[in-house]
Symmetry: C2
Subunit: 242 residues, 2 copies
DNA sequence: CGATTCCTTGAGACAGCTCAATTTCGGTGG
DNA sequence: CCACCGAAATTGAGCTGTCTCAAGGAATCG
């Protein structure tokens, strides 16, 4: 929300980059990385800061290096829908479009690895690997968006909340950095309001559903933002997925 | 729903193809088209027939040449959500995935221009234009899916129905093939149930909202599947979009 | 022109929303 | 380290938009 100009950080070596193996550049060979390394710039955003607003002219595309952000859109009267999460290695922007279709907001402190849009487009033309990787990532995003459409259009409040908890549980299981292999401890990386925006419901209903899942012994709360999955099978059943 | 094997039609010249300028092959040069022409096959599907089911192994990718189809997913208990429409020139399938994530159903009689998946992938690698066009189309689809997420998650029944009518109205205005430039006559290309599946609501509520818009003088019904937009400005306002 | 599918309308139920009041959490400074 | 403060979360009560169940009417197609 501040008007601060993003700070340019000292540029990091691509070969040491934490998103080296998952980002749009992951299929590049060392020589190709060298090209990117020469022209990339870093930008940093504070938590809550807008990366850009729907309708803005955007001169760059970027990979999320660190932190997380959200894609969202808001109706006139303030109803907001989160349309996607942006985690490290995710790609922001379209090489072929100058106008942002949605709001992008830093959610934690965010670092982006940026390329001038027109320049990036030229590089993609000369480096098919990048285009292929971007296509693959975009197709994954599209599948994920459609999966979410099913949740938004057809799932009940209970199923929505259970689905989201199951997703966080799965993520913390596969990544499991902080927790020492407890396996079932799940950190909720958003407020109830942010969950509501993502699930297409109100924060009160999210809270009530979490409380109900606790009361019924499916989960246990350890503070408002940490929980333990007591009955994973039941949680999966409550999520409504096959 | 039949088990009929899709019929192979006589192969048409790419240069005469009705989707020549919009499909995934639209950026190809004559020499590149010749390669596609040699290996493409046509498949036809009857209205209501499944093109494939979620989870199916799919050996081909395809462009819709004629007719329309829908992408959808259904929960265990039968709740169905339509995730997208497939109109002529739209692309079906992923070069890099053998399993279908969603159901694809022919809605009218459908003709597909098909390529063996692995073969298509090889061609894309040698013909960057195709990959670039596919990326562009996929990014458009992703934007459209996200726009629809806003509708599913946050719009009221009234806004959903008005939005859909507005979309059909816009489409019939720009294409305007059948109607002789009446401008405001809109044909609804789906049943109330199909609209409900697309909008994430019940067919009864769709019907009630259409009746309400008629009663309030926003539209006029000429049969159940044709309507006239009496007050376009009001319709736009009711759709909730900016 | 008969049959089937599609559409409309009504009445009642209920899931999720709104408004409002506490309570708890988590970070910060004394 | 504790007390304090603002933000976040919980919970309640009542309302309302949408769904469910049901019946009748209209359109469409062989």
């Amino acid at each position: 929300m501040h008007d601060s100009i993003p700070i340019l950080e000292s540029v990091r070596k691509c070969l040491d980059c934490p998103i080296r193996h998952r980002a749009v550049c992951s299929a590049c060979e060392p020589a190709e990385l060298a090209v990117l390394e020469r022209i990339k710039t870093y930008r940093r955003y504070a938590p809550g800061e807008a990366i850009f607003w729907a309708g803005d002219e955007v001169s760059f595309v970027a990979s999320v290096v660190d932190g997380h952000a959200t894609i969202s859109k808001t109706l006139e009267d303030g109803r907001r829908q989160t349309l996607g999460l942006l985690l490290p290695s995710d790609f922001i922007g379209r090489p072929d479009r100058a106008t942002a279709p949605f709001d992008i907001t830093a959610h934690s402190a965010v670092t982006l690895c940026c390329f001038r849009r027109t320049e990036f487009r030229r590089i993609v033309e000369g480096t098919p690997r990048i285009g292929q990787r971007l296509l693959e990532m975009t197709l994954d995003e599209l599948d994920a968006a459609r999966e979410w459409m099913l949740l938004l259009g057809r799932k009940t409040a209970r199923e929505k909340v259970a689905s989201l908890i199951a997703i966080f549980a799965r993520r913390s299981k596969t990544i499991g950095r902080d927790e020492p292999a407890t396996g079932r401890l799940v950190h909720l990386p958003m407020t109830r309001e942010q969950m509501a925006d993502y699930l297409g419901m109100t924060l009160e209903t999210v809270s009530r559903q979490i409380s109900a899942l606790r009361r019924e012994g499916v989960i246990e709360l350890l503070g408002a933002r940490t929980l333990e999955v007591i009955d994973p099978r039941r949680l999966a059943a409550e999520s409504g997925d096959v």
